[in-house]
């Protein structure tokens, strides 16, 4: 709880609609796609670095927890003020500051939406590849804080691979600039990478410098439908062996296809058992060449459909609807976004589906199989006590299975509130202590995202 005096300080620092204290208005900031509810004590929306610096000095002095927030599209509650504190929304800092086609970089404030940046870059024939499923709605600041992955990671990597530098404000008010405009830089420890994926635990990000590449002029996609999961997974192996990496290689299991069928029109025959979505890009001749090879690799299949232009966009829109479509099956879900080495994919997915059958639950397996990242969402009705208990048990078994296959309990979503308790399954005490010590260098009094540290 903030005192009247503390609220007055924030009102002075954040005039007009830059600060919110009414519960009705703050309700919007009390949740995200995790659907967890945690009411903050205040929400502030800084417009300048100076405001942020003063806020962080004040917060450290008063021991007020700080929770950075972008568009609130995360699925683990990482932006929520669990235990109270001040939510710092980046949405009033949403300018693209620079697009430089000679240096192949862009500078952006954290509130810029990923898709808006992509659209601006396309006008310059430039490309920022990371595209989480939420790209149309999530912010660059949130993407950097969570080291967002996305579907193009197979060929292009994740957010961390594209952050050249950033400006962050640390507890106490110090403004820290890391990295720079160079695509190669080996001086010092890599503080930039430390911030990427730190989920707000070290400070508030105020500006980001992103590496760009030329926009590939052509692309094509293939939808391949199979009679069973095994055939689809065999095709994944063949698809990754054609001598060129696809941009994206996605799997949808039977349960996933069923959810999408219930949500609307789908481009496959109802009742399909498994499907792959593959995207290729590059120059037109290269795409044509790779398309032919990929077609051969994905065959035999029950259906092979190539999409170009508008048809290609439609194929992918279906993929982006999986998360919301899951709610057509059951009112609640426990999301898992585990990753395993590619060679363990088949074992992992078959294991997760078996757990679903044993626990009498619908487990939705889909995701970025091209890079080993599998979403295994447990659909259930949380109001049914027995079902909820089984769902929680199933999640633990899925995580244990993943770790036994040398995997990780999260490939891209992070741990936030909902998975914080499982970090100890993967990280040892030494690792966690060193990470805590590193955080303490940036945040000695522990005001940043307490209880949600990603370690």
């Amino acid at each position: 709880m903030l005192t009247a005096e503390q609220k007055n300080y924030l009102k002075d620092l954040f005039p007009g609609d830059e600060a919110i204290f009414s519960p009705a208005s703050m309700l919007a900031y009390a949740t995200d796609a995790s659907r967890i509810l945690a009411m903050p004590d205040a929400v502030v929306r800084p417009r300048s670095l100076e405001q942020l610096a003063k806020l962080m000095a004040w917060a450290q002095e008063h021991g007020v927890p700080i929770h950075p927030r972008g568009r609130g599209t995360g699925v683990v509650g990482a932006s929520l003020a669990q235990g109270g504190g001040v939510v710092v929304s980046s949405l009033f800092m949403n300018e693209i500051l620079e697009i430089n086609s000679k240096d192949f970089l862009a500078r952006a404030q954290p509130g810029v939406v990923n898709a808006d940046l992509q659209a601006e870059l396309a006008k310059h024939r430039l490309f920022y590849p990371p595209d989480p499923a939420s790209a149309a709605i999530s912010s660059i600041g949130g993407n950097v804080s969570t080291n967002a992955g996305g579907m193009r990671a197979v060929k292009y990597g994740v957010t961390r691979d594209y952050v050249l530098g950033l400006t962050a404000v640390l507890p106490g008010g110090k403004i820290l600039h890391t990295g720079g405009r160079c695509h190669k830089d080996v001086i010092g420890l890599d503080l930039t990478s430390l911030f990427v994926g730190s989920a707000g635990a070290l400070g508030v990000i105020a500006e980001i410098t992103l590496k760009l590449i030329p926009l590939p002029p052509a692309s094509a996609s293939i939808l391949a439908v199979y009679d069973n999961l095994e055939q689809a997974l065999d095709a994944v192996d063949r698809g990754l062996s054609i001598g060129a990496l696809p941009v994206t290689l996605e799997l949808m299991s039977r349960n996933t296809l069923l959810a999408l069928e219930r949500a609307g029109e789908v481009p496959w025959p109802c009742g399909a058992q498994a499907a792959l979505l593959v995207k290729l890009d590059g120059s037109e001749p290269a795409v044509e060449h790779d398309l032919e090879k990929m077609h051969a690799a994905l065959a035999p299949a029950a259906l092979l459909r190539t999409g170009r232009g508008r048809e290609e966009t439609d194929l992918w829109e279906v993929r982006r609807l999986i998360n919301p479509a899951a709610y057509k099956i059951a009112p609640d879900k426990l999301s898992n976004d585990v990753a395993v080495p590619r060679s363990k994919l088949k074992e992992a997915i078959e294991g997760f589906e078996a757990i679903g059958r044993e626990m009498r639950l619908n487990v939705l397996c889909f995701g970025h199989v091209g890079d080993g990242n599998v979403h295994a969402n447990i659909l259930h009705d949380a109001s049914n006590v027995d079902e909820r208990r089984r769902a929680l048990k199933a999640r633990r078994r899925i995580l244990d299975t993943t770790l036994s296959l040398e995997g990780t309990i999260s490939g891209e979503h992070g741990t936030g509130i909902s998975k914080h308790g499982f970090i100890g399954l993967q990280l040892c005490e030494d690792q966690r202590r060193i990470m805590a010590d590193i955080k303490a260098v940036f945040d000695p009094t522990g005001i940043m995202t307490p209880g949600k540290e990603p370690f």
Partner: protein
């Protein structure tokens, strides 16, 4: 799974909500409205009733969120229902309509008898002073002899009567058999204002009259009216509903095969504003065809910020949305905008930058054939 669709907090609505896009304030987005309405339903302890209701009612009614919601949550409808059950809402609505009448443009014509405001300033709604930009050289013959009525809407009936006259002249040029009819309101502005019973009554009245006239073509000159009339179909049986949907036709669609030519008065660039409620491509195609390479559409179509009741409650917010809309229109290089919704014309006109102008497309066409 059944029952009313519920919000899953995915945030897809944030990208299309004009209020959120113009302000960056999450509390104004449809996701927030869903949370507030759920909280109000449950009697959410920490959310004081009045401020929650006030916040939940801040909606432009553009319905863009409906197109992207994977759950089919109808936030504008929920907001209208909230307004409808609010005990003082109707009183408040009319009181404010009298104080700031321009804000509720189409609703003004619906004010209870004797309450219609006087002295409205519609000087910004004059046709281009330099004269018409387009002449119709030869009218389409596709509709000759067809029975048709004109649905002029509140604005062309009560406030800018030349739109009605112009539309009737064009229908005459098309050679339709124009039947006389006095339809009243399409129901849309009433619905968004929370006057649900009134909206339903308006639509029932329209359907009854349309049926009595032998189900003629219904020529429309406003996107919002078209949307309202098509919703009338939801109350009819399947066969009649289909017939009604087919009958409600943009006047622009009827003119489409006509031959036109530009006059010397036509500006070099004209930006098209697509109304949020538009479901037909006809106006855009007709103007694109008539204006040729002088026609420009913004990269992203923004909402004009008219917003009915919101413009009364929060004029500054609505104005923010309007500014963003004009920014997108002038980014095309045009200083003049045309549109096919009477409410949008007013919102754009009153918010136009000093050098910019907005017109209903009817106003850029010559009054009659040469």
């Amino acid at each position: 799974m059944s029952g009313k669709p519920s919000c899953i907090r995915c945030g897809r609505c944030l990208s299309v909500c004009p209020l959120f896009r113009a302000t960056g304030r999450e509390e104004l987005a449809p996701r927030s409205k869903s949370m507030l309405l759920e909280a109000l339903d449950r009697g959410y302890g920490e959310t004081p009733q009045l401020s929650a209701e006030k916040l939940a009612a801040m909606c432009l009614g553009c319905r863009r969120c409906l197109d992207v919601c994977p759950q089919g949550v109808n936030a504008p409808q929920a907001v209208a229902e909230l307004r409808a059950v609010h005990p003082d809402f109707k009183t408040w609505l009319w009181k404010n309509a009298l104080r700031r009448p321009q804000a509720l443009f189409p609703l003004v014509g619906l004010a209870p008898r004797g309450m219609a405001p006087k002295g409205l300033d519609f000087s910004g709604l004059e046709p281009p002073s330099e004269g018409p930009w387009v002449e119709i050289v030869a009218a389409s013959t596709c509709f000759q002899g067809r029975k048709a009525v004109l649905f002029p809407g509140c604005a062309a009936t009560s406030l800018v009567r030349r739109w009605r006259t112009k539309a009737e002249n064009l229908l005459a040029a098309l050679g339709v058999d124009l039947l006389p009819a006095d339809f009243g309101c399409c129901g849309s502005p009433q619905e968004s204002g929370g006057l649900l019973h009134e909206a339903k009554a308006s639509r029932a009245r329209f359907a009854a009259l349309w049926r009595k006239l032998g189900r003629p073509l219904v020529a429309t000159i406003c996107a919002t009216c078209r949307n309202g009339l098509r919703q009338t179909a939801e109350e009819l049986d399947a066969e009649e509903a289909q017939a009604l949907r087919e009958a409600v036709t943009p006047l622009s669609a009827m003119l489409m095969q006509s031959q036109t030519r530009l006059t010397d008065a036509a500006p070099e660039r004209v930006a098209f504003h697509k109304p949020c409620h538009e479901t037909s491509p006809a106006d855009e195609l007709w103007l694109s065809k008539s204006l040729g390479d002088r026609f420009f559409a913004p990269d992203v179509g923004e909402c004009c910020g008219f917003g009915g009741a919101l413009r009364l409650a929060e004029p500054d917010l609505a104005a923010q949305v309007g500014r963003r809309c004009w920014d997108s229109l002038t980014a095309t290089g045009a200083q003049t905008a045309v549109t096919g919704c009477t409410a949008c014309v007013l919102a754009l006109s009153v918010q136009a930058p000093p050098t910019a102008r907005a017109f209903h497309w009817l106003d850029i066409f010559a009054q009659s054939l040469r």
